[in-house]
Subunit: 429 residues, 2 copies
């Protein structure tokens, strides 16, 4: 891995070092836009056309059948089943604590205001497929949807012919049975616009390749489309480590992120020159033995190790970068957690590798990438709900607030607004 | 107003009746895109160029000076001051209850997970201007930003030369002093991209005309841009009323929404034929006396009264429409609140006109329009914060979870993920 020292870098060089790969939305949207427009007009036929072209769909029936589901539930291996069930339990326990609380307050005598939460009724989950099989993502999206109480949960995945036992088992744990063998931009089009027979959803969740994330962006600002969980870019990890850290552990964390794809970025900020050198060596040694070595070689090209002068330096740079995953491999790591301002999920101490959060610690792995952690949260139960506010005024309450409302309406030159208060109190004066 | 009976309408006619005006994003984005691109490259000079062209800016200094602020605080009228202060108090009291709660949980022995909230550091507020002056919107955005603890709050408003005393007074109450005399798409460009000297923000809030909302959409999916509060369309109200309701009150509510702009939509669903006729008559009588009668005449064209067979009909139609504002003018209105699934803010009972929520009851008036209430909430304190999750595993915790993580990583063919656990437990076995 490339090694740098903060003291050797100019401001511009430092900025350049932390730059993420540019996302070329224009090129991708040139491909995605026609697909979405086609589905808007052509409905299911268009969806099937693209699923056959891009997802290797081999049937005209995109809905996974009850028989397929039942077979999967029977044939899944014992070890996969146990692992999915333990992950389910941990994720459920954590997310249950996220349920937002309603409240009610009398802001002034006779003016009662409250805030209540409702599940979003129709949601769509996108589960990437292709070479990989991602049952963990089914749990990460399906569990909060279930806890929120969404009435209808649709799942789309580019599966061609046979959908994996693990994906179907995870979906079943979450109570999801409306599953379509459709992926890519066509899955986003299907869920956001609906077809004559398949109702559109109100919000789409889930990661995906550049076509999926581009399609999600487009439909999120299309008045005919729907909401999305968050914008996305390539996955990334930033590790902050001091001289007490174990170089092998850190190398394994950097590599577990680097194996995600060629565009992943992994960064180590450390106060120790010795550690920097050791991690670099360890990364080389460990990566030789890994199956996805070709991805790793590519993604390490945009990755680096930076020697900093202090942990304060490290946290400042990390907050500016706003990493999706942040690993704190430093002595007494927990005491630093309040220094974290911008990050998706944080892994505290040497025995908390990123992979525990990816699968089973309980936190969600759908996290803001590409610096979006500055303003977005990871997926949570609230992502599947929305708040409604209520106000109920008694006649006295209205009298108490009348002058204020009338004065402000007059300042804003909205006399019908003032009038709505006046007509209600007319017979009073 | 146009009157219909549910029993006379076909499914298609009903659907057409509730259709909102189409939003022509393509035409508007043709104007907005070049402005945004110009600002991305040209910075402050481009912002000033457009502010002079569109906002009647008369100076090269877009920042409102300390002297201007001090003068406003001195010269504001007593009544405006009192009204803003009471509104501030109510809104503050309500929003303080919204502060999201952190939590911590041990999902299994040795696996400690927590969720903490952080304020978004840099936020931008857009306050429409032109003919109207909107200090209420300053409070609705500035108060939750203050409660969240945002480090920097920027405000933009198209004010030309002199900014209103009320806007500056409201901004001062919220602790906002970085105020720019810039509006429209150029304000969105300024805040989302920043300039050499003005730092970009992480999220933009606030209503605006079609150029502002289009610009917000565009920057929300531009990787160089930033997050936004929510997409937007024209403002709207839906009233559900039974035979006990007062026709004058309802007419005044419909008109207070209709005066917002020519594209506002107002709808009454009622179980009473008599009420339907009386409201229609009242709307005509009252509107004659209102100053913004020309707006009202226009917006009533796309508005209607619909006689329904039951309150259940009404709630079903309302939830399908997902109104920004919902008024329940029915006997024992409070008992119906759980029937509301999709709405921005709800006004319960005959003494709760929409205008109290627009100004001073305490709830927020920045609400999801155009059916977005199906998936979006109104602006709240959480809109100005994001959540970060943490996990800290002890060595025993990692041992407890190891099999699960390794099994799932192997299912997903990510062996580096499994390896990050294995290296930490290597000397254990």
């Amino acid at each position: 891995m490339k090694l740098f020292n903060l003291n050797d870098l100019s401001k511009d060089e430092l900025k350049k070092l932390f730059l993420r790969q540019a996302i070329d939305n224009i090129k991708v949207s040139g491909i995605v836009n026609p697909i979405l427009n086609d589905i808007k007009l052509g409905g299911l036929d268009s969806v099937i056309k693209y699923a056959k072209k891009f997802d290797a769909l081999e049937t005209d029936d995109i809905l996974v059948s009850k028989i397929e589901i039942d077979n999967s539930l029977k044939s899944i291996s014992k070890s996969s089943k146990n692992a999915l069930e333990l992950a389910y339990q941990n994720i459920y326990k954590f997310h249950e604590k996220e349920i937002p609380k309603s409240f009610s307050i009398e802001t002034m005598p006779g003016v009662k205001c409250s805030r209540e939460f409702r599940a979003i009724e129709n949601v769509g989950l996108y589960i990437p497929g292709g070479t990989a099989v991602l049952p963990s993502t089914v749990l990460m999206l399906g569990i909060p949807a279930k806890i929120a109480g969404c009435k209808r949960v649709v799942l789309c995945s580019p599966v061609g012919k046979v959908i994996s036992n693990e994906v179907l088992y995870a979906a079943n744990l979450c109570g999801i049975s409306e599953i379509y063998k459709v992926g890519g931009a066509q899955a986003v089009g299907l869920m956001s616009y609906g077809t004559a027979k398949i109702e559109k959803v109100d919000k789409i969740f889930g990661p995906g390749n550049q076509y999926v994330t581009c399609a999600k962006s487009i439909i999120s600002i299309d008045p005919d489309g729907c909401a999305i969980d968050m914008p996305a870019g390539p996955s990334e990890v930033l590790v902050i480590a001091d001289e007490t850290a174990n170089a092998r552990f850190i190398a394994s964390d950097l590599l577990s992120q680097a194996e995600h794809g060629v565009d992943s970025q992994v960064i180590l900020l450390t106060t120790s020159d010795v550690l920097a050198a050791n991690v670099s060596k360890e990364v080389e040694e460990q990566s030789d033995k890994l199956e996805r070595n070709s991805f790793i070689t590519e993604s390490l090209k945009s990755s680096f190790i930076l020697k900093v002068n202090s942990l304060d330096d490290a946290f400042e740079l990390s907050n500016k970068y706003a990493p999706e995953h942040l690993i704190l491999n430093i002595n007494n790591a927990e005491s630093y957690s309040e220094k974290v301002i911008n990050a998706g999920s944080v892994f505290v101490g040497e025995f908390s590798p990123e992979s525990v959060g990816d699968y089973a610690s309980g936190t969600n792995h759908s996290l803001p990438t590409y610096g979006y952690a500055k303003s977005y949260s990871g997926v949570s139960v609230d992502s599947f709900m929305k708040a409604i506010t209520f106000q109920k005024l008694s006649k006295d309450g209205l009298k108490n607030i009348a002058d204020t409302v009338i004065t402000l309406a007059e300042v804003e030159k909205l006399d019908a607004h003032a009038n709505a208060v006046k007509v209600r109190l007319e017979n009073e004066n």
